[in-house]
Amino acid sequence: MERILTRNVDREGAGTLAVYESSGGYQALRRAVTTMTPGAVVEEVKKSGLRGRGGAGFPCGLKWSFMPKEVDPKRPHYFLINADESEPGTFKDRLLMERDPHLVLEGSLIGAYAIRAKAVYIYIRGEFVFATGVLERAVAEAYAKGYAGANILGSGWSCDLIVHRGAGAYICGEETALMSSLEGNRGYPRLKPPFPAASGVWGCPTTINNVETVANVPFIIERGADWYLTLGKPPKNTGPKLYCLSGHVKRPGVYEAPLGLPMSELIYELGGGMLHADRPLKAVIPGGSSVPVLRADECEVDLDFDALAAKGTMLGSAGIMVMDSSTCMVAAMARIAHFYHHESCGQCTPCREGCGWLESVLNRIENGAGRQADLDLLISVSNNIIGNTICALGDAAAMPAISFVTKFRDEFQHHVEHKSCYEGTMALQGVR
């Protein structure tokens, strides 16, 4: 299959403007700003079926269409790029930013044109120091060539590009927390409504898109929505997708394939199969640690939004975490709960306290101090988090917890009864 999003990442000089332009780079921006109206760009993206690649899978063109059609000079529009890639198991946006930053910038600029934005802020996680440097150099190149700044490509439209570095907080990948953080506050999520298109950053109409989402846009403008609709599983799961494969496989990494790639193909063909020949597949988390786990017998599934939803889980950020038969499921869930407890912003009691309870109870089960009632306690704590918080972070801890306890109940029960892990599993695994 033709590589689309990752076509430049392995090229000599990857990341430079020269390489990007030599593969047709910035022609889509030129077409958009000199031959199309903003409304026509929105319509083309709508028609393509592109769904957001950050986790929720919301239709991109539809999101853009929520923005006001006229700009009130007192309330300029802003386009925010969510480059705060922090979902455990996810490392695709980093690849794009480090190896093809101009693709990210071109997509961002086309999106900004479509929503009539005054400026683009790329909010990148603080740990990505290298990617930040690459993006900043690319931004300087884009300004120098007239792709950003005043009167872009002679179109009369002006837009600034600013790279804004976070400082270590998973919650800032949540779009309203990202806006709070960009404004110079602690990264506290806000209630919706108001939705960002009505009142976003600085109280102005705002659209927020993931890095990979905007990286699709230049191809849609250059080759057309009809071409895009031929990729993947139209009409609702279209386009190329970056899959992040990690855990117990021979060749972990980022793999590009059209949406709807069978999971078995990702693990056993692209990923080279299980890491150890004598340790078969036990479980897969298909969309980053925030989504429910699948047992091995549930893994005959296509990796797209709707096929995974039908299995009771989510494509999420396409972080496919593979666990083999040596994995202790209690230890795995305890580690996930630790993450959410650490990352809870602390605003909402059910999340702040609930994630702590999940971690404590899971740890005591793992350490052989679990009680019979703990299994139901985990479910009860989870159900008291879900739906009772401002943002989805609490749900992202609770939904996996329910799935682990329900689908691997025997293994949790074994810990309570025998004060030890299942035979053949180990909580700590050696460095290869």
Binding site: D160, A167, E183, G184, P252
Partner: protein
């Protein structure tokens, strides 16, 4: 605070419609200048951006990457989230604790190394890994770690 930093702050503030939005980047500048952000720096930034010192402190303590005290010259941040755990990050962390003679969260007495456990660094396909100051070191083995640590000044 130096004149150079003053000029940098002006340039940063100009990128945003409100000065307060410059808080995170200005904190980065302050940390780069001194290695950490103390109360004196927080108060200076608060005056400069027109926010309260308590607001600045609230942000310094909310975001994990701002340091309130100096760390070791080589700050080792080991990812132990699930994908790294599956590929041996717990043993990697235990090895570093033995090798450096400190526990997670501590700094060696000579100030050369500090060691912390951190959450997912977005490097799950190249696990296990750690971040050493600004740089990612991926696909680690214990041998690679030993060679790397011994090569550091």
């Amino acid at each position: 605070m130096t004149a150079e930093l003053e000029a940098r702050v002006d340039a940063i503030v100009a990128r945003y419609p409100q000065p307060k939005a410059a808080l995170l980047p200005v904190l980065w500048e302050a940390q780069r200048a001194r290695g950490f952000v103390d109360l004196e720096a927080e108060e200076w930034i608060a005056r400069r951006l027109g926010v309260s010192a308590s607001h600045v402190h609230g942000c310094v303590t909310f975001y994990t990457m701002y340091k309130q005290k100096p760390s070791g010259r080589h700050h080792v941040q080991v990812c132990t989230t699930l994908s790294c755990m599956l590929r041996g990050s717990d043993e990697l962390l235990a090895h570093l604790e033995r090798k450096l003679g400190i526990r997670e969260g501590e700094t060696t007495p000579d100030g050369k190394f500090s060691l912390v456990r951190v959450e997912c660094l977005g490097s799950c396909g190249t696990a296990p890994m750690f971040q050493l100051n600004d740089d990612y070191h991926e696909n680690l083995t214990l041998e690679k770690v030993d060679r790397l640590l011994e090569s550091l000044p």
